[in-house]
Amino acid sequence: MGTVGRTSPNGFSPTAYLRSWNFADLPPAERAKVYRETPRDDGTLLREYEIYAADREIEIAPGLFFPAWTYNGQVPGPTIRATEGDRVKVTFKNLGTHPHSIHFHGWHPPEMDGALAGQEVQPGETFVYEFDADPFGLHLYHCHTVPLKRHIHKGLYGAFIVDPRRSRPPADELVMVMNAFDTTFDAENEVYAVNTVANAFMQEPIRATVGRLVRIYLVNVTEFDPINSLHLHGMFFDVYRTGTSLVPGDRTDTVMLCQGERAILETTFRYPGDFMFHAHQSEFAELGWMGLFRAEEAPTT
């Protein structure tokens, strides 16, 4: 079973996306154009982002292309990560063919909501969203222009992580966005994935180290289906719903999230080898939302 072939190596990499936030995947010169950190008097940072919307065809399974609407040419959009109390300033330029917006989850005044009437950013126009990163936790951002279903399932969403002031314990951190694509536009998804490309982590398992803490930032933006889930084989994990508490709320091997819901998961691999993870809706799993962790012993020094 599974998909046939491999996606183009020049396109979006679900693996690189796992560990890239604040444009860390870009070379320094490129990164400086889209992301700047400026220390402020109270010890917090001003974090400035350049985000643009653009129409782009993306490869969601080998040889299968989807006419997406993207933030910065990728789906999901770049992960934005700040620390509680930082000032986030996002300059949003709409280079697409339809009106778009960015609606951040988190505390913000109504004029920064991006969803209210008149807050759409017309093609060619620019708007600056500015707010304090609050509360700490795992959030998301997405376009809130109507028709909402289409603007979301076409690809306008991304993860927004706010770290607590006293940072969480060091870990191998991974951003996973559960998403799906309706390629026939009949309000039913043909392709399900985590980080866009069907079966990507079956073909390129996620590397992990035995004994090292793994932290998964799990966001569900699946359109058309009310819920999605993650099930990890042979292991259990701590669940911090919405990431707004430092005390886990649950220890399980299957977590269910409704659309827009998210959770931070923490676990440590006990054994080396392959561990499957997938949606526990079998249909989603077989339509692409299935992958592997490959745990290896830590190198002895």
């Binding site: 079973m1 599974g2 399974a61 390629t183 026939t184 339509l287 692409g288």
Partner: protein, 392 residues
């Protein structure tokens, strides 16, 4: 002479120039623009269920090139191998082998996704292993052909001695009954033919193909009938009746070929598990066909040798077996359309012959309006309709 040639070629040359201009300038592209999505059409031509999986033959029926990206079976991505690549030009074909563990007797949906995410689906209503041309399936199809075609037609022929004792009025009734039976087969065959034509790739223009093949068969049989009658003993009523019986047998044989094709192809398309009821239905249905073949002979009170009766039976019944073989082993919807069309054309010709024979001189309309004839027409149609319900 040169001038005549020039006059003939000039319009053709101008047409060539026009075509070149159209291809070069692409007026359609000007309307479609750069980002206009391609017109994609994919037709499923044959679906074979093997122990190792599902083999799907598809054809690009659309004007633009398409690329098959992925295959899903029952809402699950599945691996596949394409024999002829995945990039298909206009009318390009490929065969995909999908190692899917299908379940006997259950339904499956095969969905092909192209590079643009367009989905083309084929539903397998009841999964059964597709017969391969081996001795066992040859045997099975032969047996089905015997049950459905040969034996019922032969049984129908056995009414001949009884029919030969009928009065003239009863004979009119009987011939009208035959016309009713045939008229039913005509409508039935035409409806099936157009249905099959609808399944053909659009480029094949199924409806036109059907009508042309039917008209061709009609005219061919008309020619053969005229030739047979012209062979001397034209005045001999008995001989004419024999020719008519042969023609009816040929028409029914062609129709039964189409029926055999339908039964065989139901296997081939993986669409139907052939039920006993269906075979029973066809058997009852086709017994009446034997009656139709011998009716004109009975009317002329002609003595018919047993061997001749057997010949008529074989002409009418045996094609069912051949149809089942062809449908089961090398099915293609084009064959269905063509053979159903030939059957329809043949039946139309036979109906014409019988009506002419019944009319002799005078008006056909007046002849048809007589009581026994009307009753016969109605009875013939009704018998077919009721037995047809078993098949439906």
């Amino acid at each position: 002479m040169t001038r005549v040639l020039l006059l003939a070629l000039l319009p053709l040359a101008l047409l060539g120039v026009l075509l070149t201009v159209i291809v070069r300038s692409g007026p359609a592209d000007a309307v479609r623009g750069e980002n206009y999505p391609p017109v994609e059409r994919l037709t499923f031509q044959r679906v074979v269920l093997e122990p190792g999986g599902i083999v799907v033959s598809v054809m690009n029926d659309g004007p633009d090139e398409i690329a098959i990206a992925q295959v899903q079976v029952d809402d699950a991505f599945w691996t596949f191998e394409a024999d002829n690549g995945v990039a298909l030009r206009h009318l390009g074909r490929t065969t995909m082998r999908i190692p899917y563990p299908w379940v006997d007797g259950e339904a499956h949906v095969v969905r092909v996704l192209t590079s643009t995410g367009t989905a083309f689906e084929h539903e397998i209503a009841v999964a059964v292993e597709t017969p391969t041309p081996n001795a066992r399936y040859f045997g099975v199809f032969t047996l089905i052909g015997l049950y459905v075609g040969v034996i019922p037609v032969a049984i129908g022929l056995l009414w001949f001695p009884l029919l030969a004792r009928f009065s003239a009025h009863a004979m009119d009734f009987l011939l009208a009954l035959t016309v009713g039976l045939l008229a039913f087969l005509l409508v039935d065959g035409a409806s099936e033919g157009f249905e099959a034509a609808g399944l053909l790739p659009e480029s094949f223009q199924g409806a036109v193909l059907f009508v042309l093949a039917a008209a061709g068969a009609y005219l061919l049989l008309e020619g053969i009938g005229a030739w047979l009658k012209a062979r001397g003993r034209a005045a001999d009523e008995g001989y004419r009746a024999w020719v008519l019986a042969v023609l009816i047998a040929v028409g029914i044989g062609l129709h039964n070929f189409g029926e055999g094709l339908a039964i065989g192809s139901a296997f081939a398309l993986g669409e139907a598990a052939l039920g006993t009821l269906l075979i029973v239905g066809f058997t009852l249905h086709n017994t009446t066909e034997g009656l139709a073949i011998v009716a004109p002979l009975a009317r002329e009170r002609r003595r018919v040798a047993l061997g001749d009766l057997a010949k008529l039976g074989l002409i009418g019944g045996v094609p069912t077996i051949a149809g089942a073989w062809l449908g089961g082993f090398v099915y293609s919807p084009v064959w269905s359309v063509l053979f159903l069309a030939v059957g329809v054309g043949a039946i139309a010709q036979v109906i014409g012959q019988i009506v002419r024979q019944m009319t002799r001189e005078g008006s056909a309309a007046r002849m048809l309006a007589r009581g026994p004839v009307l009753a016969g027409l109605f009875a013939g149609f009704a018998v077919m309709y009721v037995t047809g319900m078993l098949v439906g």
